[in-house]
Symmetry: C2
Subunit: 208 residues, 2 copies
């Protein structure tokens, strides 16, 4: 069933997951689709439709059980699979991401960080020594990470992505603003930090 | 008309804008909604619906004029308004964002970066000296930035947001994972870096 779920629905799942996680932390046991909808800024019917894509979880008149829905969405997102993750590029963004505690909380386990700058190699970031790119092959073969986060310059991102794919990496999170050609058995997610600034600009323009 | 446009449509506008910008760079003059839809991973009818929210731009049988559509979406997003932007927090993420060239390209002009760490104050980042938080009041009054990007620890984000609002900042881009209460005349956009990793995880799970 999951295969037919639209991209827009999938994009909303992390938001549901985060929000339900907050409710859980505050010991909430259930929530109505109406309240969930107000918090999430989508209609209640949209929420019901979204969750029905995966079989539906609510009960008429009761709403959703927060913990079951949280766990179910985590399962749908594959967050309980303990993805071993590496970061390529130990610049400021690489450092920031290595220290980003939400990644670990969501089941992404950082196991290595790489750079080709001799001045960075050997430095420690969040208990990981920055490794040389020369060590990448052996490391990936030994530790079999499934995800690589790319925070490298545009000029090298394509070659590095090809190398990672040839080493068996299955998923790339790319922070570099460029198209990367990868084979169809590999997944890529491109992050565009300026999108949120553009959305903010829209809001500012239409609020005045 | 803009006021009624749904959040989901607005969220897609930056993607249209980026993609059209790429086409422009490659000297493309027009594009069909079909081709645009394949690249953007939304249906052609969705694209037509989205753009109709703003009056529509295509011509039957011709498609869209790339440059006009690019400029029109830029206008809708308010990107030609030259937002003066400051960054609060000169840690790794603050540094990375200060060096992020897409921000400037999209019309967001970085005019200052602030931190409260004496060891950072006075350092240069992308031609800006890191200023002390003590200088924030006077700086904002003199230079009237409209947007502040927050890359500060969770414990202080609420107080800093309140201060910025009281100084007249109209838009906040918040990278800290926490809810910030702000008055209704101020806009906030929260960035959750782990959302894209969760989306990637979903793709990985459903591709195997």
């Amino acid at each position: 069933m999951d295969k037919k779920v639209s991209f827009e629905v999938i994009k909303r799942l992390p938001r549901y997951y985060r929000y339900l996680g907050e409710l859980l932390k505050n010991d909430r046991t259930r929530i109505s689709s109406k309240e969930l909808s107000e918090k999430m800024n989508v209609t209640a019917s949209q929420i019901r439709q979204d969750l029905n894509c995966f079989g539906g979880f609510g009960q008429q008149g009761y709403g959703y059980n927060v913990e079951s829905l949280y766990n179910a969405i985590g399962g749908i997102l594959g967050l309980n699979e303990g993805h071993k993750t590496i970061i390529i590029g130990a610049g400021h963004l690489g450092h920031a991401l290595a220290n980003y505690s939400s990644f670990q909380k969501r089941g992404f386990k950082l196991i290595g960080i790489f750079d080709n700058n001799p001045q960075k190699i050997g430095e420690s970031v969040n208990e990981h020594k920055i490794l040389s790119m020369d060590e990448l092959d052996a490391f990936v073969k030994e530790h079999t990470p499934s995800i690589a986060i790319l925070t490298v310059p545009k000029a090298v991102v394509h070659d590095i992505a090809q190398k990672l794919v040839s080493l068996g990496i299955k998923g790339l999170l790319n922070f570099c603003y460029t198209d990367v050609d990868i084979p169809s058995h590999v997944c890529i997610e491109n992050v565009h930090l300026s999108d949120s600034l553009m959305t903010l600009s829209y809001k500012l323009k239409n609020m005045q």
